[in-house]
Symmetry: C2
Subunit: 154 residues, 2 copies
């Protein structure tokens, strides 16, 4: 999907942005981090057409960010699971979230919370649990709806 516009640049940031430098890529990664796996769940979350979503999912499978797993044979249906390569991007999402919370706060509080699974502590800028101090990895962290979203949904 993305042309290597910055092909003459020897730079890992530029290279990373060739893969995740479109907003929808990071929003799809956010959704799989939120636990959405199925086509219709993702489509509803992102508000895009079936064609657009199919193309994006196929591209992310090709790039090794998502793995397709069949969960139904008739009709044939697939779930999309994040690979390790994708999960390793969680700090990028975490820092975008913290920056967004800080500079564009919602009156009701943060829309999403990043928490240490099981413990319930929030994630700090050092990717540690604010409650127990543990240094967190992608598999330790869950994202869930925060006050602003709960308020919106009533």
């Amino acid at each position: 999907v993305l042309a290597r516009t910055y092909d003459d640049q020897t730079c890992s940031i530029a290279r990373a942005l060739e893969v995740v430098g479109e907003r929808w890529t990071l929003l799809l990664l956010r959704d799989v981090m939120l636990g959405l796996r199925r086509f219709d769940e993702l489509r509803e979350s992102l508000g895009v057409t079936r064609t657009v979503l199919s193309r994006r999912l196929a591209w992310m499978v090709d790039e090794g960010l998502l793995e397709r797993r069949r969960y139904s044979e008739r009709p044939e249906r697939f779930e999309y699971w994040p690979t390790d390569k994708a999960t390793e991007l969680w700090p990028v999402l975490a820092h975008l979230l913290m920056w967004g919370d800080r500079h564009y706060p919602e009156p009701e509080g943060p829309p999403r919370l990043l928490e240490h699974a099981g413990c319930g502590g929030r994630v700090d800028r050092r990717l540690r649990c604010e409650r127990c101090g543990r240094e967190l990895e992608g598999e330790d962290v869950v994202m869930r709806d925060g006050p602003a979203l709960t308020a919106t949904r009533g």
Copy 2:
């Protein structure tokens, strides 16, 4: 420049990506982190036309990411300095860099290095200095050319 495509989404990640979700924004931030300040330096680094760069810089000034400072009166010329709001995005760039280094390595080694200024230690995933252990902030960190870039430039 960016439409609020995800306006119906109450999400700080989506909101952050409305501001920095185009590749060129993060690449411009990388360049100002590298110490580039002047129009022609930025244009050379990014390989874009004057018109495109002017528009992007104006947009980033409007969004409060860059500050315009006059350094010459005749002819009138400006430098572009990152604001605190922009500098706070350094962890996003740092994690994109680490992810890019890991998944798209260059044979000569990393193109850019993130270092603790003065100390020279590398920055780890917890945004600490690998050498002295200090927890780093944006102002403690410098980005400089690494082996792959030095090799390319001969």
